[in-house]
């Protein structure tokens, strides 16, 4: 029975936090992808599979040793105080802005009045209790979605906006009593307790009847900006929200940056475990995740693997590392630099909060990539409307090292294109990206996109930095004809087997080139992005005939692309896809590391 009770506590905590705390999972919550079999087993408790347990729940085992203690979970809304106005936000520094914490829900899970009875080991009784607890947890799961707080949780989880509020939680064995005014605004609901021979399990909630009294608005909604170098339509491009352009965010303002210790984790919410771990836990666990994000290649491992239906959490994770030190770029007075004045904790939690809101911006439902040129308006989900040319330049890698390295593996026929591309890429690395370039790129983007999404048009002779804009409505449709001199299309009809191996070679060489370019300085950012662009352009299986590479002209490329796309769809080996995925991962890691390096470099 004790095991049932403790698992019930864990499960209920999992359900509650899962439905209220946007930043619960520090890593990509890919379902059961990386969980061990033991995690799966624990997920099957009460026949309710919720996915991997967040790390926070591990604290519960450590903390909640006494099953008789009630588990009080406070869902706290961190929002602007009533005296701050939108106008004030523009002019007051973040350090003086008051953020207020309000408990909007208090969940109580309590194993009451436990007593020893002679039939403690009655298995049929346990089965009945277990069945009732299953039903209770189903109701809890549904109820979480019916209460008002769920809507704002969904708002925070949405990929398109950042908001001037955040949700944190606190788990304790007691709850501070509410004031009269607070009580007047709240309502109670108690689930029917489940009677056990040794006690009874009760779940109840006190919640705010309405959250409309709080000024919960999108963070950027008050600050319209004119994007002078807007390229492409965000709604049609899957490649978004790539966190590499950390300095982009930096340009706007980052009052959090200076105050924030680098060891704070963007993912660790201030777990207010009242056994003494109140806000202490995040510090203890702070540094590994952050540096992990910055340095290790593994966290963004799924980045390149999923362009289209990209999981929100992955992009969120990838973004947050870069963003956590920085306010959302289009929020000049970031609301998430919470002062946490009532709290004894120092700045990191505030920055964590800020990070979490800022990373909402990066939560793209479609793509992890934020090719920084595609800037957004205040409400857009792109990372920065404040991209200035110097910033953008950093985001394009100098392609020359990559090109030179890849030359040996290129085919003969596209050799002309190869040299053409090389010079073009070099020029792109050196140029500032002006508005005209972006518009041209955008225009060519559209042309390319019309042609089943291929970007061969981008390769036209302008040699402009818009190569960096190679976004497409479909990952598979990105193609750069001139790049095929360096990477043969893995899906060539003419030579499927050899193209697969060649693609592998290309991917390997790309990977090695990426790794070596990781050691470069500011220009390496451009190199990394250029490499990524190359990869993206070569990935899609549109071209069958390598001879179509021979002409650099837009029309020919488009035509070839059309004919290629019609006969394109060859069976592709899983190994090819895996290789491609790996290469994307490498690229993403490289870009992330670059952005981290550049960010630290700029900070210095």
């Amino acid at each position: 029975m004790d095991q049932i009770v403790s698992q019930f506590l864990l499960k209920s905590l999992h359900i509650i936090l899962d439905s209220r705390i946007p930043s619960l999972y520090p890593n990509d919550r890919g379902g059961y992808a990386v969980s061990a079999s033991c995690a799966k087993k624990s997920d099957k408790w009460f026949n309710l599979a919720l996915g991997d347990r967040p790390a926070a729940l591990d604290n519960l085992n450590f903390w909640h040793r006494n099953l008789m203690d009630p588990m009080i979970i406070d869902i706290i809304l961190v929002h602007e105080g009533p005296n701050s106005s939108s106008v004030d936000n523009l002019y007051t520094s973040t350090s003086t802005k008051a953020m207020v914490e309000t408990v909007i829900e208090r969940w109580s899970v309590h194993y009451e009045c436990p007593r020893v009875t002679p039939n403690m080991n009655d298995s049929s009784a346990h089965k009945k209790i277990y069945k009732k607890l299953i039903v209770l947890l189903r109701s809890l799961y549904c109820q979480m979605r019916f209460l008002p707080a769920y809507r704002i949780f969904r708002q925070l989880n949405s990929s398109s906006q950042t908001y001037n509020f955040d949700i944190i939680y606190k788990v304790s064995s007691f709850g501070d009593p509410f004031s009269r005014t607070e009580e007047a605004m709240m309502q109670d609901y108690t689930f029917s307790p489940v009677e056990a021979s040794s006690g009874r399990l009760c779940v109840s909630v006190t919640y705010h009847k309405t959250l409309s009294d709080f000024n919960l608005v999108p963070a950027g909604s008050l600050f319209p900006r004119i994007i002078t170098d807007y390229v492409g339509s965000p709604t049609t491009k899957p490649l978004r929200s790539f966190p590499s352009s950390g300095k982009v965010v930096e340009a706007t303002s980052s009052p959090l940056r200076g105050a924030r210790p680098p060891s704070s984790s963007p993912f660790q919410r201030p777990h207010s475990w009242t056994s003494g771990f109140h806000r202490g836990a995040p510090f203890a666990q702070a540094s590994p995740p952050v540096y992990h994000m910055y340095r290790s290649p593994s966290p963004p491992s799924d980045f390149y693997g999923q362009w289209g239906p990209y999981s929100r959490s992955v992009s969120q994770r990838a973004v947050s590392c870069d963003d956590y030190q920085l306010s959302p770029p289009f929020s000049p007075s970031p609301n998430h630099s919470y002062s946490h004045s009532p709290s004894p904790s120092p700045s990191p939690p505030a920055h964590i909060s800020g990070c979490n809101t800022s990373q909402h911006r990066g939560r793209s439902g479609t793509s992890p990539m934020n090719i920084p040129h595609v800037v957004a308006a205040g409400n857009s989900r792109y990372s920065s409307p404040n991209l200035s040319d110097p910033n953008r330049q950093h985001s394009l890698p100098p392609p020359s090292p990559l090109n030179s390295r890849l030359d040996p593996s290129s085919q003969d026929s596209p050799s002309r294109i190869r040299s053409y591309r090389k010079s073009e890429s070099q020029r792109s690395a050196e140029l500032h990206f002006g508005v005209a370039n972006h518009y041209t790129g955008h225009k060519l983007l559209r042309d390319g996109r019309d042609d089943s999404g291929r970007f061969s048009g981008l390769l036209s002779s302008s040699g402009s930095p818009k190569i960096g804009f190679s976004r497409s409505s479909s990952r598979l449709s990105l193609q750069d004809d001139s790049d095929d001199c360096e990477f043969s299309c893995p899906f060539d009809v003419d030579d499927v087997d050899s193209s697969a191996s060649l693609a592998r070679n290309n991917l390997d060489s790309r990977r090695s080139s990426e790794q070596s370019s990781a050691t470069m300085g500011a220009k390496s950012q451009d190199a990394a992005v250029g490499v990524l662009v190359h990869m993206l352009r070569n990935a899609p299986p549109l071209r069958q005939d390598p001879s179509c590479y021979s002409s650099p002209s837009l029309n020919m490329e488009l035509g070839a692309g059309v004919t290629a796309s019609s006969g394109f769809f060859l069976p592709r080996k899983t190994s090819d896809a895996l290789e491609e995925l790996r290469s994307y991962r490498e690229m993403k890691n490289l870009l992330l590391s670059k952005s981290g390096a550049c960010l630290s470099k700029e900070e210095a």
Partner: protein, 218 residues
């Protein structure tokens, strides 16, 4: 074992809202009764700011949609009539095999009645005339519709809370969970009682056929 019956609060819906409202209610009930291993699936309603949970079983989804379509067909044939859909859970009991039949009896242990009043929107709301009076009328109609929609959303929330309350208050009548794979642990059926008034004979024949087959689902 007793049979518990729950009559959910009446809902006034327009024709185009029937599908969403019924899906929400039926899936919520089944989610509470699908006590096998489930991976919950959240669905946002399009017409209302409500998120409900499905058990994730595609067969269930398909069956619910079929029954909803059946009800919609009935509603179209019987406008301005109260419609009702019944979700029942039962146990299958094997009776003693007799000389002629091997009867399998259904023991119902729970009935849920969803009551809908389908209102017909007055035609003036869709008037395309450009006269100022008609425009005002259609504006008023739109405003009435939005008020009605808000009321329906509130009522739907109350119905969902009603389901949760009922499910939690009454747990003793739920049979033991059988050892079966899949989310659905108890057989269920969805019927449209009002539609059987004119097809009593067919209903009886249907039941006789059903009791002859040890199928879990109708």
């Amino acid at each position: 074992m007793n049979c518990e019956v729950c009559h959910l609060k009446d809902l006034e819906v327009e024709h185009y809202e029937i599908r969403e409202v019924l899906r929400c209610i039926l899936h919520t009930i089944i989610f509470h009764r699908a006590l096998g291993l489930v991976r919950p699936k959240e669905i946002d309603l399009e017409l209302f700011e409500i998120t409900y949970v499905q058990c994730g079983d595609l067969k269930v989804e398909k069956k619910i949609d079929e029954k909803i379509e059946q009800l919609i067909g009935w509603v179209e044939k019987h406008p301005n009539k109260k419609s009702q859909i019944c979700l029942s859970f039962y146990e299958v009991k094997n009776k003693q095999a007799s000389w002629f039949t091997n009867k399998i009896e259904r023991l119902y242990w729970e009935h849920w009645y969803v009551n809908l009043n389908v209102v017909q929107q007055p035609k003036t709301a869709y008037a395309r005339s450009h006269s100022s009076k008609d425009i005002v009328d259609s504006e008023n109609a739109l405003e009435e519709r939005s008020i009605r929609r808000a009321c329906l959303e509130t009522s739907l929330r109350e119905v969902l809370f009603q389901i949760i309350r009922f499910v939690n208050d009454k747990k003793d009548h739920v049979p033991p969970i059988p050892n079966r794979e899949g989310a659905i642990s108890f057989p269920y059926e969805i019927t449209i009682p009002s539609s059987s008034d004119s097809a009593f004979g067919m209903d009886m024949i249907k039941r006789m056929l059903q009791t002859g087959h040890p199928t879990m689902l109708s």
